[in-house]
Symmetry: C2
Subunit: 420 residues, 2 copies
């Protein structure tokens, strides 16, 4: 093993977020949380560690291997959060007499999976879920779709498509083709790959699973020509009634979603132009919470693909660094003029300007270089001349332009530059 | 051991935050982050898991026992974040060529300690730190004090006291009394208890450690009559220059702070009226980062006592639930009138009103009861009569008062109620 004392590094599959990256993530979170709150969702936080018994056997055998579990000093078997659904199932049972009848919660926390790290797959990553629990009504399906659409819109993506289907439709088409060896979920998992690998390869895969060629082909062509059912059309109509543009909701009978537990409407979010993949997906899962050992609670929700949302926000240039960086560096000249720098700093901050005070009596050129390297767009200069005249000099770093003016005028000028 | 499948529960020492509590915490975080950004601090996030070797031996032998560490499936010894300083020391080394010369970062993440849980002490809790790295200047000490003061002010506490002292002062008084058995840090740890247990008990403790009675008494009386030194007065003057009121910075020669690593200015935040204890503390620690295996980097910072800040914010009633809860429930009548409820919901949300749509055609009384139980202050009622007249009825839950008006008027009325 490497000597980690000599080469400081994060664990493989784990990430450090330095300020620039962290701010992008915070921007996306802020925007979607704004929408969640407007849509009447409430925040929830559960512990990072849980009893391992709560998590084991809940995600399937393969997943159990990906669980970070260990024994604590008290001999308890404990494990790190693997997802947010199982802890929420615990919450729904444990606090059933406290929670509202229809619990609409959002939850944004990190989860841990001892998976093989690869591009876009990490061992610690942020999950961001919204769900409505205990309502079987299509109104709740529509609420989830509308919240999703407007959350994405609030981040600013130019175009948002909600691809939608219903598991019941897939069940009715695929059940007649299923055999004792190849069950309907196995077929769904193959259908799920249609967009990715194409019709021929999916047919080949189904044949390999043990279905005859002609039947495999029939499965695909039947799926492709499926018509929408009234219950799904109703959900779409409700969502458009809640303001989602009609053309943004697209029925796709081949949308399958890999996970077994969906029982009704399923959907995915696509951002045309951003081709890496879906930026979120969800649907109705009326049996899962009960299966997880919780109460029998119908549910509908979505998991946002947070990392991809951040990547797509960057791709579409939605995150203007100017909104985040420190806006002004106040330089210092010497001890005698320091108090003027301090009071200018204080006044700027009181007016909401993001201001840094340089902490050393370095040469002005060095202080300017510091601002430049950090990307701070304006520098306030207060030397003996300025201090005596009760003026300050503002230098715009990009153009090099300098303006000597009163502190009040300078603040007005700076605030207008930042769109206050 | 208990059968945790039957009684769903969080691990001892870990907490679930249901919406009401979570919102209080989010409120405090939002307020202090606002200030951090205004004061030019930048966000940082590090992984929850690190190589155990990075964390072991960094906090002392006792602390090593409190570390949650284990072997992952790849045979790596890994551990959960114990604090934010050691991972930041790694960051300072690893990214030294990327980070600005003076790195001002804030970091708000959970840390894990396998400590004995007791009132106010948890095994997972939120740490909130700001620090300025690589500056030895008293300007940076003052920046930390000012940021702290205004962060507390932004949360809204009625009175904020910064209790301040300097480790060098304590060293100069205590060093002559220290012996080979009772070193200066041991004396500091006793002095630290003065406010809590009183002079007599501290003298007794020092005597028990092996110092003669008369000398122990001299230690205390010398400490008590210590005068401020110019370097500390300078920091105070700089902080007041940055806008901190003079009377809010109080020199206290007995302030010691338990931790060994401080090298200069030390301070604590007290909120008069809230008597549970200090709500944050920090100071200058110029050697620590180097000792932690990082580069030789002087530093000054503060750790906010986040749980206490939330508790104190509640104690001083700074968190108006009205700012957080869902503001309006839109009821539904039947299928025929549903579209009017949907469009009202959509319009309210577009105007920034936090709106929930009831998801079932229950009796109105049941829907009202739901709003009442959830504490939603207004309910929109749209029955056939209202729908026909293109009006909506707004019921104020507290007074029971009802107003039938156009949707536009209702929105105007509701927005004015929420102070938009």
């Amino acid at each position: 093993m490497k000597n980690n004392k000599l080469t400081p590094q994060a664990l493989k599959g784990f990430r450090d977020f330095l300020p620039e990256e962290k701010r992008k993530r915070d921007f996306v979170i802020k925007k979607i949380v704004e929408t969640f709150e407007i849509f009447g969702f409430e925040p929830l936080e559960t512990p990072t560690l849980e009893y391992a018994a709560l998590l084991l056997g809940k995600y399937g055998q393969e997943a159990d291997k990906l669980l970070y579990s260990f024994q604590d000093r008290g001999g308890r078997e404990i494990a790190l959060r693997y997802d947010q659904t199982v802890p929420t199932a615990r919450i729904l049972t444990q606090y059933q007499h406290v929670l509202p009848r229809y619990f609409r919660r959002y939850q944004i926390q990190n989860v841990f999976r001892a998976d093989n790290p690869q591009k876009g797959r990490y061992r610690e990553f942020t999950q961001c879920d919204i769900d409505i629990f205990n309502s079987e009504s299509p109104i709740s399906d529509a609420e989830i779709i509308a919240t999703t659409y407007f959350a994405f819109q609030n981040v600013g993506y130019p175009e948002i498509n909600i691809i939608i289907n219903d598991r019941q439709l897939l069940f009715s088409i695929l059940r007649p083709c299923a055999t004792s060896k190849v069950d309907v979920f196995s077929l769904i998992q193959s259908i799920d790959k249609l967009a990715k690998i194409g019709k021929d390869q999916v047919v080949a895969e189904i044949v390999q699973k043990g279905i005859k060629q002609d039947q495999a082909e029939a499965v695909i062509s039947n799926t492709l020509k499926t018509k929408i059912i009234p219950s799904l059309q109703n959900i779409i109509d409700l969502a458009t009634g809640l303001g989602v543009p009609k053309q943004s909701i697209i029925f796709d009978p081949t949308l399958a979603r890999g996970l077994d537990y969906y029982t009704g409407m399923i959907f995915e979010v696509q951002l045309p132009g951003y081709t890496v993949g879906s930026c979120g997906g969800g649907g109705r899962y009326d049996k899962l919470i009960g299966q997880l050992g919780g109460l029998d609670v119908p549910a509908v929700g979505i998991a946002f693909g947070f990392d991809r949302m951040v990547e797509a926000a960057e791709y579409f240039k939605l995150i203007s660094q100017a909104n985040f960086i420190t806006q002004i560096l106040v330089t210092v000249f010497d001890k005698n003029n320091l108090s003027t720098s301090l009071s200018a700093t204080s006044t700027l901050r009181k007016n909401g300007v993001k201001t840094e005070l340089y902490p050393a009596f370095d040469k002005l050129s060095k202080q300017l270089k510091y601002a430049d390297k950090k990307g701070i767009p304006y520098v306030v200069i207060i030397g003996p001349e300025e201090a005596e005249k009760k003026m300050i000099k503002v230098k715009e770093m990009k153009s090099g332009e300098e303006k000597t003016q009163t502190i009040e005028d300078a603040i007005g000028y700076l605030l207008s530059q930042f769109g206050f």
